[in-house]
């Protein structure tokens, strides 16, 4: 009995064990299948991710190339700009130099104009000479008037001599000739004196007109030089 029971128990255990084994196998196979499919999915996902990654890398590389190309372009551009900046700098320097030269010239011009204004002194000297010349003319006028007065006196004296000669009759005949000669000489002297007076008046006018022209011309030149000087100064001021 006991043996039967034991055999039955053993058989039962064996069956249970078999059932359990079968169940375990089934479960293991199921789990394996599940794991495999999971692994397959994971592999699929990974390969997809890897493809995407490599695509991304290729895009990145493309970008990198583009950036490098742009960078090279920019480097060229920078070089060109730098060259052009150098040439502009050189031009600017040339312009500044020429501006300095112009300012220097303007200063020279202003100084020259200022120096030439000293001509006013020369004109003043000429004017003084005119005054002296006119004073001499006045002196000659006075002397000529004196001469004219003497000549008039001589005419009267010669007339008186003629009258006295006539009174003396035949004795005074010779004296009458002399008196008449003196009168003729006095008349010629009078003519000469008048002509001399006219010459002096002509001289007065010509001298005055000439020297006034010099004086006025001098003022004109001085005024013109002042305006040149002021223009040169303005020009110089705008250059600084």
């Amino acid at each position: 009995m006991i043996q039967q029971v034991l055999v039955a128990a053993l058989a039962g255990s064996a069956v249970t064990a078999l059932v359990a084994l079968a169940a375990h196998r089934l479960a293991s196979a199921k789990a394996m299948r599940r794991l495999r499919s999971e692994a397959d999915r994971q592999t699929e996902t990974l390969s997809q991710a890897s493809a995407a990654q490599s695509e991304l890398i290729s895009i990145r590389e493309q970008h990198m190339q583009e950036l490098e190309a742009t960078l090279a372009g920019l480097r060229d551009e920078l070089k060109t700009q730098s060259d052009s900046a150098d040439s502009v700098r050189a031009e600017l320097k040339a312009v500044l130099d020429s501006k300095d030269q112009l300012a220097h010239k303007a200063a020279q011009l202003a100084a020259e104009a200022a120096r030439l204004k000293g001509l006013a002194g020369t004109f003043e000297r000429w004017h003084e000479q005119m005054i002296s010349l006119m004073t001499q003319n006045q002196d000659m006028h006075t002397k000529n008037r004196e001469l004219s007065s003497i000549v008039r006196h001589v005419v009267i004296v010669s007339l008186n001599a003629s009258i006295e000669a006539a009174r003396a009759g035949t004795a005074g005949r010779g004296f009458a000739v002399v008196a008449s000669e003196v009168r003729a000489l006095a008349a010629r002297s009078e003519e000469l004196s008048k002509s001399y007076r006219d010459s002096l008046h002509r001289n007065d006018l010509t001298t005055t007109a000439t020297f006034q022209d010099i004086q006025a011309g001098g003022k004109m030149i001085t005024a013109s030089l002042s305006s040149v000087e002021s223009l040169a100064n303005q020009f110089q001021a705008t250059l600084h």
């Binding site: 006119m134 007076r197 006219d198 008046h201 002509r202 007065d204 006018l205 010509t206 005055t208 007109a209 006034q212 022209d213 004086q215 006025a216 011309g217 001098g218 003022k219 004109m220 030149i221 001085t222 005024a223 013109s224």
Partner: protein, 183 residues
């Protein structure tokens, strides 16, 4: 020199400018009447014992002589001296002539930028006939009468070596700023 060196317009303009200056500067009071009439050539109306005040305005292409004939008689002296008795007549009269010439100069500057003016000088009226010796292109004399009492003579004598042509405005505004002008 040709007869057209100074154009008719320029001669008329000079006359106008000179008349305006004479009327404004030779009259002592604003209400004084100044009449200007053409006289015979060379100022023949001027008394031989009178005197002349000569002033010159020089430009690049011409010189213009403005000549005022005067007699130092009592009426002339009284008119120009007025209340002033301190200064001699000639000094006062030369100053007036200077102002008159300055007014002409001022107006001419509008047409000729480079001009200069001389100081006045006194000569005998006997010098007048010799103006011809300067070979003027324009010579004209006038009789000036102020208030029918003071008689003066005036002569314009212009010598030019280049064509002169300009037209001065017929009715320029009377300039009253003469006192400020410096000569």
């Amino acid at each position: 020199m040709g007869i057209d060196v100074i154009s008719t317009h320029a001669k008329e303009s000079l006359e106008r400018i000179f008349f305006r200056a004479t009327r404004s500067r030779l009259t002592m009071e604003a209400g004084d009447i100044c009449e200007i009439a053409p006289a015979g050539a060379h100022g023949a109306h001027s008394p031989p014992d009178g005197n002349l005040v000569i002033l010159t305005i020089s430009g690049i292409a011409f010189r213009l002589l403005l000549i005022l004939h005067y007699d130092e008689d009592e009426r002339t002296q009284n008119y120009f001296l007025g209340e002033e008795s301190e200064r001699p007549f000639l000094e006062v009269f030369l100053e007036i002539c200077n102002l008159c010439c300055g007014a002409v100069n001022q107006e001419l500057l509008q047409y000729f930028p480079d001009l200069g003016m001389s100081t006045p000088y006194v000569l005998s009226a006997r010098c007048i006939p010799y103006l011809e010796a300067l070979k003027p292109e324009f010579l004209a004399s006038y009789a000036v009468s102020i208030n029918d009492a003071v008689s003066l003579g005036a002569t314009i004598c212009m010598c030019a070596h280049a064509p002169i042509d300009f037209v001065a405005e017929a009715s320029a505004v009377e300039d009253t700023s003469g006192e400020l002008e410096l000569f």
